[in-house]
């Protein structure tokens, strides 16, 4: 008997092709589009958000001759992802909602639906690969999405299929054309967060926390020495490493180097102040057998950055501290710290802060 797979389908090209490839490979495919949010809570009776995407996914499934369902995961997504998103900004951090969506919505809640329909597998259109229950970067490094998948329960890996992860985006589009999925073959992809369609994340913060939230209230731009240099309109508009929207008039380019919710200050400084020699992360999740202090790994502190070599210097429950061989710029609390061994994802955590790196050698008394 064919093995059943529940495919999370957004209506975009990657997940559509993933579903089509699995049909070709002989799986019993069931398509599901998750309804995760409504843009306008004031009008509950209005047509749902992203109706077109749902319709695209439905049409693809019709074409593939497989059932398609729309699953309402709005309430769980609201608390697991959206609420966390605004709270993180309010705490002066820069969250990645996609990570939590993968961890909680796709590879936990959706997996539960897969169980109820006896699906052995769950599939998505992510550019990453699972081989022998281990997670690897997508073959197309320009598209690699493994950075966003560190949080999933390791045991889920043995049930995941990521069919497009072994090919390039160009190849994915070619497959779409070959299989006649013209509806979606040339859809452009959105770089936006799905519930922040216009790229302005302050709207949802205002909506959830109120217009007078401190995170969107006036505060000071300060230098590391405490000098107040100007005012800003809310620290939630800033992220570590940001240059845009900063006061001018300095001899060197200035960057956001810290965000201090307690006094609403955005600390700015020259490039050097962005450099971190170490990093502390919490909610550490291993996708391999947990490693120990002293182990050497490669790390990424944001999606599109080159891996940096580092050594694990401390593990404390869910908290981990690494010392970087070379300083890394713009380590932003709230972003993900992902540990790699070449192509293989070892695990990851939520960046808590930059740290001092290797403890200096104790100074011997003369």
């Amino acid at each position: 008997m064919k093995e059943r797979v529940l495919v999370a389908m957004s209506g975009g090209v990657d997940s559509s092709v993933a579903a089509a490839m699995l049909v070709e490979q002989g799986y019993d495919v069931v398509g599901a589009t998750m309804k995760l949010f409504c843009h306008d809570d004031d009008l509950p009776d209005r047509p749902c958000c992203s109706l077109d995407s749902v319709n695209d996914a439905r049409r693809v499934c019709q074409q593939l001759g497989v059932p398609h369902y729309v699953l309402n995961l709005e309430s769980a997504f609201g608390s697991d992802v959206v609420e966390n998103f605004v709270n993180e900004y309010a705490a002066g951090r820069t969250p990645i909602p996609c990570v939590r969506c993968n961890t909680f919505t796709k590879f936990r809640d959706l997996l539960h639906k897969a169980d109820a329909i006896d699906a052995r597998w769950i599939a998505t259109g992510h550019y990453a690969r699972v081989v022998d229950a281990a997670l690897y970067r997508g073959r197309d490094h320009a598209k690699d999405q493994s950075y966003f998948l560190w949080g999933i329960d390791r045991r889920v890996l043995s049930r995941m299929l990521l069919p497009v992860g072994a090919q390039t985006k160009v190849e994915t589009r070619a497959v779409a054309h070959r299989l006649g999925l013209e509806v979606i073959a040339e859809k452009t992809e959105s770089q936006d967060i799905c519930f922040v369609p216009d790229g302005d994340h302050t709207k949802i913060i205002r909506q959830k926390l109120g217009a007078d939230t401190p995170s969107l209230s006036r505060g000071d731009f300060v230098l590391s020495d405490g000098t107040v240099v100007a005012q800003h309109d809310g620290y939630a508009r800033f992220t570590i490493g940001q240059r845009r929207g900063l006061p001018g008039g300095f001899r060197v380019p200035m960057f956001v180097v810290a965000i201090r919710p307690h006094d609403r200050a955005v600390v700015i400084g020259p490039r050097e102040e962005l450099l971190g020699r170490g990093v502390v992360a919490r909610e550490m999740n291993w996708l391999v057998d947990p490693m120990s202090v002293g182990a050497t790994v490669e790390v990424q502190v944001r999606h599109r950055s080159s891996p940096a070599r580092a050594e694990i210097v401390r593990i404390d429950g869910g908290e981990i501290e690494l010392a970087l061989d070379e300083p890394v710029s713009a380590i932003a609390p709230g972003q993900s710290l992902v540990l790699y061994d070449g192509e293989k994802v070892l695990g990851g955590g939520l960046i808590e802060r930059a740290a001092g790196g290797r403890a200096p050698l104790p100074v011997r008394a003369a």
């Binding site: 069931v30 599901a32 589009t33 309804k35 009776d45 047509p47 749902c48 992203s50 109706l51 749902v54 439905r58 059932p67 369902y69 729309v70 699953l71 309402n72 997996l111 539960h112 639906k113 169980d115 109820a116 329909i117 006896d118 329960d153 045991r155 889920v156």
Partner: protein, 389 residues
Amino acid sequence: MPDPIYLDHAATTPVREEVLEAMMPYFGPRFGNPSSMHRWGRDARTALDEARERVAGCIGASADEIVFTSGGTEADNIGVLGAWRARRGEARHAVVTTPIEHKAVLAAVHQAGREGATERFVTMLPTGVVDRASFDASVDADTSIVSVMWVNNEIGTIQPVAELAAHAKSVGALFHTDAVQAFGKIGIDVRQVPFDLLTMSGHKIGAPKGIGAAFLRRGTAIEPLFHGGSQDRGRRPGTENVAMVVGFARAAELAVAEREEEWDRLERMRIRLETAILERVPDAVIHGRGAPARAPHVISVSVPGTDSESMLMALDLRGIGCSAGSACQSGSITPSHVLTAIGVAPDLANAAIRMSIGCLTTDACIDRVAEVFPALVAKARGQATAALS
């Protein structure tokens, strides 16, 4: 896979052979416009008039008291909004309804609210029946119109509409009932019950989608929703849908003629299915089970520890078609406002499955569902532990 089993008759039903046959000439040779003076027009007019008489006959009304509509939603809008607008000049400001109405009524009431009405919602008892004390307190001399559905589409509970209508009349309010799920199941006689307005729909009784009717008691004024020609005394402008009207009349007659026998057949099957489910899943909750009167065709069941979506998918993949709460346009499920209104806890409301039996249901269907449903429940419940094993 064995033949699929359709358990969603409260959503819609297939068009009956007799109905299709009755309609066919009006798509072909008898295609005329009833407003035309020539022979083609006269022929269509005759068919329309006869159909109107036959529908009227099904509920004890006069032909001029029947307005054909595009379906239940339009008839509900006429019944609530059309009636409210026609009475706007009077010193009556309240529109009274229940929180378990179909969205067509609820949305029409909200619209009346935007147009100046005071919206009042009657409290429901946990049995799924109107709290009579709350009803009596809500319906007063300031009440313009009252709308209470006869048979609830999600849980099948029957409201005591005759008593409620009598109370509404006693204070001078108009009474509308959405009888979409009652029509063809419960005997309707507007000579016995003082309804002012009543909604019927075709596709729940073997007529096509897109046809329905409103009963409008003689002397009850409504403001038309549409503006156009003088068809149907100006109450419903637009060239009449003759073929569908004829089909609706045929379906209505058949449903009324077969009503008592079909009630018994459906009720027997419903009880058999409920009994089987409760035997095999003892903690299953059947909503509205404590109501003094229930329709024979609707079972709303929640199994603790499951969720509607998973169950509906699993059932569908096994060839069994059921539904849950209200489906939104994307097709996703939102928690049922009906279950919430009768005090069902959110977890249980999110687990509700509606099975509605009807013309396609046989004992063999019931047996198979009785066997498959508990197996799927076990699977859905096992998920928390099975997920990661």
